[in-house]
């Protein structure tokens, strides 16, 4: 199995991902994941202030965790 990856949004060396034919998994998902990872490897914008990219992910994960905990709380 082979995925051609990607010409957009980022240039770069073309990278292929191979897995054995007998492996059964969501190949489309892996293709998207791989493309997204490769698409985020470039240079950042000009800035002399605050970059909040990590904080956005942090908030997302913390909020996701809170939601999971709330659902799992017994008696609620």
């Amino acid at each position: 199995m082979r995925a051609g990856l990607p010409s957009d949004p980022v240039p770069l060396r073309r990278v292929n991902v191979f897995v054995p034919r007998e492996v059964a998994f969501d190949f489309e998902k892996m293709q998207t994941v791989t493309k997204d990872v490769l698409g985020r490897l470039g240079c950042g914008q000009c800035h002399s202030g605050r970059l909040i990219d990590f904080l956005i992910i942090e908030d997302f994960v913390v909020n996701a965790k809170l939601q999971v905990q709330e659902i799992a709380r017994p008696g609620l």
Partner: protein, 485 residues
């Protein structure tokens, strides 16, 4: 300089605005490095080259606005030279976009170390002395000689306290512009931030600048952090800054463009309507009547260049400020010079560390997204921040996310057995690290999975680390095109 009009720094997030026929949006300014990849011939090489995304460049070139090129990765104020590997793609960007002029920052972002040049992850202020002027002039001449268009430097933000042995901000900028015979990209928001943080007032800076050399103005919004007003490009332009623009634009006979800057993460808050509104507000200032020439331009104040400094002083400035700002533990212990040791006491040093650290964390969280989510989900933010802080104190930054990801991944891999357990972390990290290295070095890799990665990533997309997964053992081969037989 040609009168082009009002513009906007190009981002994918604001791309639709260039396509809607807005008569106020006449200029597209591109930061070309954001569409480059950093590549090495192999993992043993220390000399990268930069590969532009030709498809993206062609799409941007086809947009109807007049183009400008604004370099963000390779500033003009430092002693560490950038070579042809950078200049060649910059020239290509100017050519492909048919840019009217190019600009770059009057800052430094690289220092000399025992292990060769290292980046510091921020555009740091240059030494404002006689030799600082001469260095900037030489750098501008070198870059301008390779470009087929005029070159301007940008007036930078400076969070440090003013220093008594240095030239004033306006004097330094004016001397560089006159001696280099180049244009000025006047970032009014930077100057306003400097004034709010205790440096020279915008009015006094403008009084010392040759206004006929101002070709372009940058405008942006900012925010407060740790007692400082930041040039964070985080929202609408403050009314005071637009007021300053309205006061000074009539006195700029050669002003060619006024451009709005906003960071991608803040576009969502503003919305495209909000960005469009800023363009309209700038256009009102742009349309103010202007003088056609300045009758009595300032004489070049050569006498004012008498500030004592030499090349060694500038190198010491860069190395001292660089390692203090990065917070590099080992280098910081060694970086002591009699004249500059008081830099340690400047209250902006902790701010630089925070901003550089957050920038690096952002790069890592983009390039190693699933690794970051897995660590956050299992350890919580405090533990992850501690790891990132330790990493930042030991390893210098890389402006490109692939390079930062490679360094951080190697750092974590060297400590994996000492870190609290995160299920599947070694596999997730191996996968993302392999992609970064394939991109950087063209290096193939084999990633061994014990579970279904698609299922694992789908869970991490929800911010949740799955606790139990069905065994799914296989090998995945990561192959850069050149290594596929």
């Amino acid at each position: 300089m040609r009168r082009l009009g009002v513009g906007l720094i190009y981002l994918r997030e604001v791309d639709p605005l260039y396509r809607e026929g807005n008569p106020d949006l006449a200029v597209l300014e591109l930061e070309p490095e954001t569409f480059w990849e950093k590549l090495y011939p192999d993992s043993s090489s220390r000399t990268p080259w930069f590969q532009p995304n030709s498809a993206a460049m062609a799409q941007i070139a086809a947009l109807p606005q007049t183009k400008l090129v604004h370099s963000v990765g390779f500033p003009l104020g430092g002693t560490e030279p950038y070579e042809a590997d950078y200049v060649t793609p910059l020239i290509a960007a100017v050519r492909d976009l048919d840019a009217v002029w190019a600009s770059a920052h009057l800052s430094f972002n690289q220092i000399s170390t025992a292990d060769g040049p290292q980046q510091v992850g921020f555009l740091l202020p240059p030494r404002q002395t006689r030799h600082g002027v001469e260095l900037a002039v030489a750098n501008i001449a070198r870059l301008a000689g390779g470009l087929n268009v005029p070159l301007a430097f940008e007036t930078g933000v400076n969070y440090l306290r003013p220093r008594p042995e240095e030239l004033s901000d306006g004097e330094f900028l004016g001397l560089v512009a006159e001696a280099a015979d180049c244009g000025i990209l006047l970032d009014l928001h930077n100057l306003w931030a400097n004034e709010r943080n205790g440096r020279q007032s915008v009015k006094d800076v403008l009084d010392e600048l040759p206004l006929e050399r101002v070709w372009e103005i940058h405008l942006a919004g900012g925010m407060m952090l740790d007692g400082y007003y930041l040039d964070s490009h985080s929202g609408p332009i403050p009314d005071e800054v637009l007021g300053l623009a309205a006061d000074v634009v009539p006195h700029m006979p050669n002003l060619g463009a006024m451009n709005f800057e906003v960071m991608p993460a803040y576009v969502q808050d503003m919305g495209l309507d909000g960005v469009r509104e800023q363009i309209g507000r700038i256009a009102e200032v742009w349309r103010l009547p202007r003088v056609t020439r300045i009758v009595a331009p300032r004489a070049t104040p050569e006498a004012h260049l008498g500030v004592a400094a030499d090349e060694g002083d500038v190198l010491a400035w860069e190395q001292t400020l660089g390692v203090l700002a990065v917070g590099h533990r080992q280098a910081e212990a060694k970086a002591r010079t009699a004249t500059l040791d008081d830099l340690r006491d400047d209250p902006a040093i902790p701010l630089f560390r925070r901003l550089i650290g957050e920038g690096r964390s952002g790069q890592i969280s983009r390039a190693l997204h699933y690794t970051t989510v897995a660590m956050l989900a299992c350890w919580g933010p405090e533990r992850v921040h501690a790891l990132l802080d330790d990493y930042s104190a030991e390893v210098y930054p890389d402006a490109f996310a692939a390079g930062e990801a490679d360094r951080f991944a190697r750092y974590v891999l060297g400590r994996l057995d000492r870190l609290p357990s995160v299920p599947y972390l070694a596999e997730i990290l191996a996968f993302e690290h392999a992609l970064a290295r394939a991109s950087l070095y063209g290096e193939p890799a084999v990633v061994r999975w014990s579970v279904d990665p698609a299922e694992l990533f789908a869970s991490l997309d929800r911010g949740v680390m799955p606790t139990a997964m069905e065994a799914h053992v296989f090998e995945m081969q990561i192959s850069p095109e050149s290594s596929v037989g």
